[in-house]
């Protein structure tokens, strides 16, 4: 009975979101205050009923209700409670419910934190979000209802959650990624509201920016968590595989990164308006494409959910209506969005434009590489395979170029910057970065290596330029400390995210060039050396968990004769599905990771195992954390709050100082 309530609640949410998708938008056209003001309560209602649905699904998992098909397929009575709860997103149906629920959460946040915006605009934004949610719930009810029952004979026990998913990473990676993904739906809704009203001005960009920054920050974190999880769980020491399902988040991220930069230009200078709107649509399209790829069975991959073509058609229809419709509307409206100001050849506008061009080219290349095999097969009936060599060949030079330009950006001024000023300021930075690039790796490794030199040079180029900018910006204040306080959160956010980029680039380049690994067969008491480290195998003992049995090995690691770590890799057999699984042991460090994956017991008491030393691998995720903080810091800049207050006070008058050229619509 209770699962049916979940289904019913889903239907109620559908009814409310259908009203939300229509009345407020019509109200905005007819200037009907009542209809427009229904948007906020309706959003709250949709959120509540979706919340009830997902809570009931979680309850079905916790109480082992195997008469619900989705529960029976993704849980087991032996599964620990925390995984029972998170198995809600362990399969297609539940994870889609989570996705929709999160979108409703974002929508509720917009309803709450939109006091400064005109009601007409809020009504349109929430209406567009309601439209998306309507599509998603229809999709669930039509093709993948998580509350479907197995009648008349429910199984006694469930099939168990995929053992690779029974891990902390699974608890946090999918929700974070979804949260970032659906955040771009909010930005999309802002863009659609602007297109629908035909008004696109600096105020629009200012409203949109914090949302875009937060969505971007969370998506960054979500992707990084996925990479970190793959690294420690899958056991091959990799952190990115250009898998067809990893690529759509990256495509979304690249468009999103371009978007937050072009939004800056749109807000401050009223330029690139049409382009900004287009990026908002493309970022959203990237997130829907990810959904389409994972859930249609179009591409085979480790991430793919059980495929069902009818789902593919449905998502393609959603994609066609939303993205196709948005792009068509864009084609009608974009000619009206004229840039108000020109800019010189050396200016911040140009730097941001180059950033956008590079990021969009990168996104397009990843997109082509992901879909080309399928397109090629559709046309020629032949199969081809596109792997990491293609992606690396295109992506690495683009990112290096991006990193080179990245340092120049903050030094340029809007409209025009003198080239000689840039040369004078950045010339010394470039020299210092090059010197560091040559000297630092030489000091550490005592040999010259081109990848290390380039990585360190580019990393120091970004960080040194950032420090110099900080020095310049605080130079005119009474004390440095006062100068630092006077700088805005946005500024710190930007610098922090840029530094994150530098740290990540260093991590990627150094790990890729200097990782080493060794596969060996050891008996207890034997040891093996790798780099400066010696791994001594002490022996094994059996360990049994709630739903698995296994063996745990003990290793002592020595660095130059000194004991530095004890590691316990495991090998498990999950009982419900009888699948083997390996749990590697990692000694994580700021400068290097050591890790061991345990193979199988061989003749006698010897075991096979693989040992890895991965220098600087943590920096990849550390960089992502910096970027995430940077994005959030920029989003909470008090400028947005101040303006919010100001506008609430004067929301009937045109706020000329904040609007560049365009019209601010008086609310209500």
């Amino acid at each position: 009975m209770i699962p049916e309530v979940g289904s019913f609640s889903l239907i109620l949410a559908l009814c409310l979101s259908m009203i939300l998708a229509t009345l407020p938008i019509i109200g905005a056209y007819q200037n009907n205050f009542l209809w427009m003001s229904m948007a906020r309560p309706l959003s709250a209602g949709v959120f509540v009923f979706l919340g009830i649905s997902i809570a009931i699904l979680a309850y079905a998992f916790v109480t082992d209700d195997f008469s619900v098909q989705f529960v029976a397929e993704h849980s087991n009575s032996l599964l620990p409670d925390r995984y029972k709860l998170t198995a809600v997103w362990g399969g297609h149906e539940g994870s889609f419910l989570l996705w929709t629920f999160m979108l409703a959460g974002w929508m509720l946040a917009v309803a709450i934190f939109s006091k400064s915006m005109p009601l007409e605009f809020v009504a349109r934004v929430l209406g567009v979000l309601g439209f998306l949610i309507t599509g998603y719930i229809l999709f669930m009810l039509a093709t993948s209802n998580p509350f479907d029952r197995i009648v008349p004979l429910p199984p006694v026990d469930g099939a168990d959650l995929n053992s690779a998913l029974q891990d902390f990473g699974f608890i946090i990676h999918p929700p974070t990624l979804y949260m970032g993904y659906v955040g771009f739906s909010v930005v999309f809704a802002f863009a659609m509201a602007a297109l629908l009203s035909g008004k696109m001005d600096a105020a629009w960009a200012r409203w949109c920016r914090p949302w875009a920054n937060v969505a971007w920050a969370i998506l960054t974190l979500g992707i990084a968590l996925g990479s970190w999880w793959a690294y420690y769980e899958l056991g091959w020491g990799g952190w990115w595989a250009w898998d067809p399902v990893e690529n759509p988040p990256l495509i979304t991220w690249l468009f999103g990164t371009a978007l937050i930069h072009s939004l800056a230009a749109t807000e401050k200078r009223g330029v690139f308006k049409a382009w900004t709107v287009l990026l908002a649509i493309l970022a959203f399209a990237g997130s829907l494409l990810g959904t389409f790829i994972t859930r249609s069975g179009l591409l085979t991959s480790v991430h793919a959910f059980a495929s069902d073509p009818s789902r593919g058609f449905f998502i393609l229809a959603i994609l066609g209506i939303t993205v196709g419709g948005a792009l068509l509307l864009f084609a009608f409206r974009a000619p009206l969005m004229k840039s108000e100001f020109g800019f010189g050849l050396v200016s911040r506008e140009i730097l941001l434009l180059s950033n956008n061009v590079i990021l969009v080219v990168a996104a397009a290349s990843v997109f082509l590489g992901t879909l080309f095999p399928m397109v090629y097969q559709a046309i020629t009936d032949e199969l081809i395979s596109i792997g990491p060599p293609y992606f690396n060949a295109i992506f690495i030079p683009l990112m290096a170029l991006l990193a080179l330009l990245l340092s120049i950006g903050p030094f340029t001024r809007w409209k025009r910057t003198s080239t000689s000023y840039l040369v004078q300021q950045l010339g010394k930075v470039a020299l210092a970065a090059l010197a560091l690039g040559v000297v630092l790796p030489l000091l550490v490794t005592r040999e010259i290596s081109l990848p290390a030199t380039m990585a360190v040079a580019i990393g120091s180029w970004i960080i040194l330029a950032m420090l110099l900018d900080l020095v310049n910006k605080t130079a005119n204040k009474a004390t440095r400390l006062k100068g630092l306080r006077a700088l805005s959160f946005s500024y710190y956010g930007m610098q922090m995210a840029h530094m994150g980029m530098a740290v990540m680039l260093l991590g990627v380049a150094l790990t890729s060039s200097f990782s080493s690994e060794r596969s060996v067969l050891l008996s207890p008491g034997q040891d093996v050396g790798l780099g400066n480290y010696v791994f001594q195998f002490e022996g094994t003992a059996s360990v049994n968990g709630p739903n698995y049995v296994g063996e745990e090995a003990t290793f002592t690691v020595f660095e130059e004769g000194e004991e530095i770590a004890i590691l316990h890799p495991q090998r498990r057999i999950y009982l419900a599905t009888n699948t083997p699984s390996t749990e590697m042991a990692i000694d994580a460090g700021f400068l290097r990771d050591l890790f061991i994956t345990l193979g199988e017991q061989k003749e006698g008491d010897s075991w096979s195992m693989t040992i890895y030393v991965k220098p600087f691998v943590r920096w990849i995720w550390l960089g992502a954390i910096f970027m995430t903080f940077g994005g959030i810091l920029a989003a909470v800049d008090k400028r947005y709050r101040r303006l919010r207050r100001k506008q609430t006070e004067s929301n009937r008058s045109k706020d000329k100082s904040n609007s560049i050229g365009g019209e601010l619509q008086p609310s209500s």
Binding site: A331, L383, L521
Partner: protein, 177 residues
């Protein structure tokens, strides 16, 4: 037509959407008709244990060509079936070690047992492209003349063996006599 450029995104989207729509009809589980009933691509490569192998080393009877890799978790699931088939002499199995590394592949075989007469080492994935491999695991049925007759994508377990391969083999045998 100065505003034409604003229509480019939607036109691009239409092209992509058509491709995606077509993509839904592609059956990734069966080999495109062109390699079925065609001889196996010629190869002159090394095997996982380091010796040279070419088409002449293939069994001159009906055999399975199994694409595997040490990184491939589903391969572990189908492994017992392959082990049984080769141990009981039901059918010879040739491996294609796809996009793997030789040392990891050797370890994997040492860990899990080696059902393969030999495994073609395809570190670059080049042979896999000739063969039209989508990813490990994948299994092909090749007849005595080295002609590919049947393809199965993803895990081959006892059920798949009974329900798909045995009838296909029976058909081949019937043709042969």
């Amino acid at each position: 037509m100065s505003n034409f450029k604003f229509y480019l995104p939607v036109l691009g989207f239409v092209v992509v959407a058509i491709a995606l729509w077509r993509g839904l009809f592609l059956d990734t589980k069966t080999l495109p008709s062109m390699l079925i009933d065609k001889p196996m691509p010629t190869f002159e490569l090394t095997s996982v244990d380091g010796s040279g192998v070419s088409n002449s080393d293939l069994p001159d009877q009906i055999f399975l060509l199994n694409v595997w890799g040490s990184y491939c978790l589903p391969c572990l699931i189908e492994h017992p079936t392959l082990m049984r088939l080769s141990e009981e002499g039901e059918i010879p199995v040739v491996g294609v070690n796809y996009r793997d590394r030789q040392d990891l592949a050797i370890d994997w075989l040492a860990d899990n047992g080696n059902p393969f007469a030999f495994s073609i080492l395809d570190e670059s994935g080049r042979f896999g492209i000739d063969l039209g491999v989508y990813g490990a695991p994948e299994t092909y049925l090749v007849d005595a003349d080295g002609v590919i007759r049947f393809r199965h994508v993803s895990v081959i377990d006892e059920t798949v063996w009974q329900e798909q391969f045995l009838p296909a083999i029976a058909e081949l045998r019937a043709e042969g006599t």
